[in-house]
Symmetry: C2
Subunit: 245 residues, 2 copies
Amino acid sequence: MLSKSEVKYIQSLFQKKFRDAEGCYLAEGPKIVDEALNTPGITVKKIWGLEEWVLRQQPLHPGVEMIPVEGFELEKISQLKTPNETVALIAKKDSENTGWYDAGTLVLMLDGIQDPGNMGTIIRTADWFGVPGIICSRDCTDVYNSKVVQATMGSLFRIPVTYTDLPGWLAHQNNIPVYGALLNGTPLQKRQDAARGILVIGNESKGIRPDVAARLTHKITIERIGAAESLNAAVATGILLSYLK
Amino acid sequence: MLSKSEVKYIQSLFQKKFRDAEGCYLAEGPKIVDEALNTPGITVKKIWGLEEWVLRQQPLHPGVEMIPVEGFELEKISQLKTPNETVALIAKKDSENTGWYDAGTLVLMLDGIQDPGNMGTIIRTADWFGVPGIICSRDCTDVYNSKVVQATMGSLFRIPVTYTDLPGWLAHQNNIPVYGALLNGTPLQKRQDAARGILVIGNESKGIRPDVAARLTHKITIERIGAAESLNAAVATGILLSYLK
């Protein structure tokens, strides 16, 4: 049985300001919760689950409190249209930490990505292509937003995401190739492999901002054959990574 | 002023069975409505819009009834969280018609795509890469679903989408290359251009069904470098089209 104050606490985490204050976030569903429990470095603090889900957890995870709840309780603490057996409370990682950054690899940089579905799909795509981490402008959507967490399909647990001032951060990097997709760049097909550097993806409607675009060393274009005005940001990310990696 | 019965009629089109019965669907927002009005072959039957939107329509589109509405009325007939100035009633195209099909081009085939956002993004991506049309299994999500329409960003007006029985349809094609992404195929990087044929994209979680997979002549794989279990269906479509087109 969940107390009123516990329900209130969990629901407060639906909002970014409380996630930031508490240093934790929520993830839902057996598959993603299972992945959180089994990814090194991820601290699952508490799990609420339907009784049948809790009973399936063998072996138990020492140190993780598992609380059986009823269906009507799960509905109150779930952000899914159809609640899916379990909700986990997970410790956020330090979103200012760039300790993972390695100038010898190809890293993704997001400039103003607003749509949570795009953000989540981009993280999942980065994980597929072995990108070691993502650097985001401060106005990108919060990676701990429920829609982002669900769309990453567990990749959020593996890929560090750091928020910073992009032009300032880029100004401190030396001799690093910085790739960005623009309408007037070199056709992608003619590019070489890019084993190291930064790949910048711009905002869904405005693209890469001028102060970031000024730092690009390689302007590339995904050639259009048909009539659509633009590509979805996550689709563009996938195409660019498939060529550059 | 909208009558109650008109509101009720528009709201009925939020559901597929009424869209099918009436042969029309809804699209929202100035950009997409403008694109509908200016795409040859698209029949816009009626438009409801805020007064400031209606006043901006110069030149007028002969034969298209434009009805000024108040903000509170627009809210009732909109399916967006934030209604966006205008809603248009548009005639559906014949979803069984394969008259557009040309065996000399590369065509997209969708096997059980369920997510409306994915469906819309796939149509938009197909339009970017100049795919002439899309053949869907009958259990794919309805392209006239509001979320699909919005996610296509206007590409739905240019790309014909036909629903049919995929194995049956494929059985009637002769000597056509049929590409499909599977986990155990030839790495994509080693493939040649595919100027003609069918590219099959499978369901988000189950992939391509066995009776369709049996018809593939070329099994291809987008090589994974990292740890994500799978790629998003729209991202995979973009990557495959960027290599094959």
